[in-house]
Symmetry: C2
């Protein structure tokens, strides 16, 4: 019983091994608690079932997994990979060099990128040397990349449809519009299109740049509360921003949803915990992670060609939105 026979049995190349021998080998493996060494396998075979999940490591500090959305997707990716006997390297990176270092150093079979803006992705100069899945990005130039996106256009559309169906005719879109993110511009495009479809004039949809943080929302909300002729239907590109908005508005003396309606995005746990509970656009993070893993392994194992997968979104109606009340109209009129 040579080394070779064992290797063949382990790898399932059982065509040239007698069933009896194979069984003996398997027994021995079980008894000895033998674990094949992926390192040696990688060295000789060039692959060892290892992929990387790369997130932006922003200069400030440990912002790797702050967003609940990203954490959820990361967990789902790990589970999907584990089910197919792959391991996952979690890695923060900013520069193209850092990325290349990880990939080459570990001879990764593939990588999944999440949380990068399109600008940051461009800076990473992905060369497609290794199968690459990009989550939530519109970036599409150059070498072949696989994509997983949620249907952001539809997300924006649903928000607009919901708000207009409640009678709101002065709308506002809040999000990081200046950061060159296709995700955000898709949501905005969908929001605009949805509004237009309901007969809202373009200039009745204002757009304001805001970071995706509670604080930014809070500031924006208080500012908004003091503004005359303010919109009554607000759409934020993240739940956390929407929650900040609600609090800011409340601090400014405006009640949500009676004075202003607010729609969020992601349907994170947070949305159910705030008062009033947040109407929001839900993404299926589990499906998103699984799709990314499946796409990547399809590319790695089957060399399937680059393609995009779009994950559907749904509107979850809660208490942060309600029928528009014309300003000045008495409460009884509601």
């Amino acid at each position: 019983m040579s080394v070779m026979t064992v290797s063949n049995v382990v790898n399932g190349h059982t065509a040239h091994v007698s069933p009896r021998t194979a069984a003996r080998v398997r027994d021995a493996i079980a008894v000895a608690g033998y674990v094949p060494n992926a390192v040696a396998r990688s060295l000789v075979a060039g692959s060892a079932r290892l992929v990387g999940l790369v997130l932006p490591a922003r200069s400030d500090d440990i912002s790797l997994l702050v967003s609940p959305h990203d954490s959820a997707v990361a967990g789902s990716i790990e589970a999907a990979l584990r089910a197919r006997d792959y391991h996952l390297i979690l890695r923060g990176a900013t520069t193209s060099n850092e990325l290349r270092d990880s990939v080459q150093r570990w001879a990764l079979d593939g990588i999944i990128l999440m949380g990068f803006t399109d600008d940051e992705l461009r800076a990473l100069s992905l060369d497609g040397q290794v199968p690459t899945v990009v989550i939530d990005s519109g970036f599409d130039e150059g070498s072949p990349l696989w994509h997983v996106r949620s249907d952001d256009f539809n997300g924006g559309w649903l928000a607009a449809e919901h708000l207009t169906s409640l009678g709101h005719r002065q709308l506002m879109f809040c999000g990081p519009v200046s950061r060159g993110s296709q995700v955000v511009s898709d949501r905005l495009a969908g929001f605009r299109a949805g509004a237009t479809a309901r007969g809202i004039e373009d200039q009745a949809v204002s757009v304001v740049d805001a970071n995706t943080t509670y604080e930014a929302g809070c500031v924006l909300g208080t500012t908004l509360a003091q503004r005359a002729g303010r919109p009554t239907g607000l759409f934020a590109t993240a739940d956390i921003l929407a929650v900040g908005l609600m609090h800011g508005l409340t601090l400014g003396g405006l009640e949500v949803p009676t004075a202003v309606s607010v729609v969020g995005y992601d349907d994170t746990e947070l949305a159910r915990f705030v008062a009033p509970r947040l109407t929001t656009i839900a993404q299926d993070t589990t499906r998103k992670g699984r799709a990314a893993a499946d796409l990547l392994l399809g590319a790695v194992e089957g060399s399937s060609p680059p393609r995009s997968e779009e994950i559907g979104v749904t509107l979850v109606v809660r208490e942060s939105t309600t029928r528009c009340r014309p300003p000045g109209s008495p409460l009884q009129a509601v």
Copy 2:
């Protein structure tokens, strides 16, 4: 210029290499974009700067990184490892075999375990073959393990001290007390001790078993609201549970904090987003992750002996707690 010389320069064994040669080598590396292959290095040297972060992969589904606390610590661990040029494998595991598989397959330099109950840890039968840091567990038998904990006793103590200083004399501890977690029992012990120190009788501190979920808190809150002679000072072992409690109490017709005060644990973002904002015990997740990484690398590189590091906690007072009002006393008396 032999392969050996290059290897020596790359690894900083520059004692036996002339500065001129070293410089030439470094130039060539920079020009060629050469990245040393960790796989080959691991095979021959037995180590390749790779550690594992292992979390419980519970049967239900993709619950790997649901807790914001765990996500934050994971991010911090990755950052600390990256700063020292290590890579991180993220892995869900349930059985001792799964764990051993990952460790042996990748010849991991060490592992960090987080999120396991003591019972689950026991089932993993950690043999200490590889340097192992356990986060948030009291598990301490058998082979040498390193530990990172937050000062849970003090966390409980601070909560009790805060509530009693506000005049509350009927207290309640809510958390997963039946799951054999030392973290929870430490918090409970601290809570009891703090109460006793303030002259509260033992039977005035009730304990109720509750999962660390919003839903469990909600149910418990509504139940509590209907109970006569209920406690007025509540302490929950997690913010999310505390938030559930608050909502349940409110649904049941009790106002927080006027009727009942609630203290949470972790100071997650959530605590600032709910109304009333949550008084809670804050852990420094960044320090926690860094401590885990430092402890592990100390063990890996310097073979420093097993030890524990305790991360301090602080009380963050917000609006979910207030002075106890004797039941039946008129509102004006507050």
